[in-house]
Structures are given as C-alpha cells and as structure tokens.
C-alpha cells in the first residue's frame, strides 16, 4: 500500500530574476502567502528582479507592452506590438495596471516587503547582480537583510520539506 502520510512544506526559497510589475508582484504574493501559512520563507532578488527591491524603482515597476503576447486592450482586443512601442504607452499601461491592482487591495511593492519582513520572511539581494548594476546596500529597501551569493542562498535550503521556486 502506498504511504499516504503528508509532509507539508516547511521552508520555501524564491528567486526573482525579472523586474516587470507582474513578475515582482507574483513573487511577493507567493512569498507573503507562504509567510501567512507559517512556512519559513526566503527571497532572493537577482538581475532585473533587483528593481523590485531598489528604493528608487520598486514602486514604479512597468508591465512590458512590447513582446508580451498576453497583452490585451481594455475589452479584450489584441494589443498591437507597434502601439506598445510608442512613447508613453508603456507608462500609461503600467499606471493602469497599478491602479487595478490597488483596487483589489493588493499592497504596493514597498508595503509588501514590509509585510513579508513583519511575518518573519527574509529578503536578500544577489551580490553578483548588485555589483553588476553598481548598486549599494543603501540603494536597496530597508527590508533587505543582506547581499549574498547564490551559494549562500542555497545553503539556506538545508531542511526536509524545502522547495526552491524560480519566478
């Protein structure tokens, strides 16, 4: 007979490597959800994902209007890629996305980071990417616990019932 014992998730590590509004928010919703479930949660922001924890940028993230096949006009018609390339279109679409997200009572990025930290989640920045983008610790959100290497991040995945998610 198959063993039906359940082994609920105890620890989750997430890697966010992309910096669009929806990529960062997806990571934050999943991370905050894990914290809310009492799961030990650690987040690692790397490459363009760093925008999600960079003070100057984190509340102004954009949604790509070019090269995004799921992009639609209000009403559901396809969104022509050439239209997305016009100046100001991406900014306008992004502002509209942020407004709709706000209406759903989903917090802004800075507040999300606060909530995750308040619940005991830990937020890290990737050393390689921080060096590459010439950032300093003070450029990053106060909730960022440390700037670490990917090796140090893997070391944190040291228990049973642990998962790593790449978003």
């Amino acid at each position: 007979m198959a063993d039906e014992t359940k082994h609920p998730l105890k620890k989750v590590l997430m890697i966010c490597a992309k910096g669009s509004l929806e990529d960062v928010l997806a990571t934050l919703v999943m991370a905050n959800g894990a914290v809310m479930e009492g799961i030990e949660t650690k987040l690692f922001f790397t490459f363009f994902g760093l925008d999600g924890i960079t003070k100057k940028r984190m509340n102004k993230l954009h949604t790509a209007t070019v090269g995004n096949p799921a992009m639609r006009m209000p009403g559901g018609l396809p969104f022509p890629t050439l239209l997305g390339a016009l100046p100001g279109v991406e900014a306008g679409v992004s502002a509209m996305m942020r407004k709709q997200i706000d209406e759903l009572d989903i917090p802004r990025v800075d507040e999300f980071l606060e909530m995750i930290e308040a619940g005991g989640g830990e937020i890290y920045a990737c050393k390689l990417a921080v060096d590459m983008f010439k950032l300093k610790k003070e450029d990053l959100a106060d909730e960022v616990k440390d700037i670490i290497t990917i090796g140090e991040f893997y070391e944190m995945a040291d228990g049973l019932q642990t998962q790593i998610i790449f978003t």
């Binding site: 919703v29 809310m36 479930e37 009492g38 009572d105 917090p107 606060e114 909530m115 308040a118 619940g119």
Partner: protein, 103 residues
C-alpha cells in the same frame, strides 16, 4: 455535520474545524479552542477576534493587511499574537469561516 464540544457547548464545524454557524461563538468557546493548542487569549486577542467578526459580518474582505491597519495591532504584532499561520488561526478562534484571501 461534524460537531465538537468546547466549554460545554456543542459547536457545528466543517472539515477544517471552522465554525459553520458563527452565532455559536462565545469568548469561553474561543478560550477553550486556544487552550487545546496550549495558548491563552488575552483581552488584546479578543479585540482582534471581535474586529475579525465585525469585518466578516459586514461582508468586507479580510486580509492580514486590514488587521495591520485596524489600530489594534500591527502586522508584526499579529504574527506574534497568533504564531504560525495567524490569519487562519485567528479566524478559527473568531468563529468565522476559513479566510479566502490571497493577501
């Protein structure tokens, strides 16, 4: 439907242990539920539970964020008061249904 006895009262519960009828709730029942987990509820805990009951009754969405803005406690405090999965635990003790929000 499953029933469970808390503080001498039979409570109708669902598969996850949540109240089916929120009217069966009382402070004594909540205290007995907490005791089962080795916890004791203070007046502050009850303030949060009453806040949750009000919110749910009025049909508003209940999020961890709304509790953080309740003025009773901040989010950090909420995690401390109901360790583990705070929103799940607090709604359980508050005698309302399981929370359905993602944030």
């Amino acid at each position: 439907m499953a029933q469970k006895e808390y503080a001498g009262k039979m409570i109708d519960i669902d598969d996850n242990g949540y109240f089916v009828n929120s009217e069966q709730w009382s402070r004594e029942v909540a205290q007995a539920m907490a005791k089962e987990n080795g916890e004791e509820l203070t007046d502050k805990h009850f303030e949060v539970l009453e806040f949750i009951r009000e919110k749910v009754k009025s049909g508003e969405s209940l999020t961890i964020r709304s509790i953080g803005k309740s003025g009773i406690t901040d989010i950090k405090g909420f995690y401390k008061m109901f360790p583990g999965a705070p929103l799940k635990k607090a709604t359980l003790y508050a005698g309302v249904s399981k929370p359905s929000s993602c944030v």
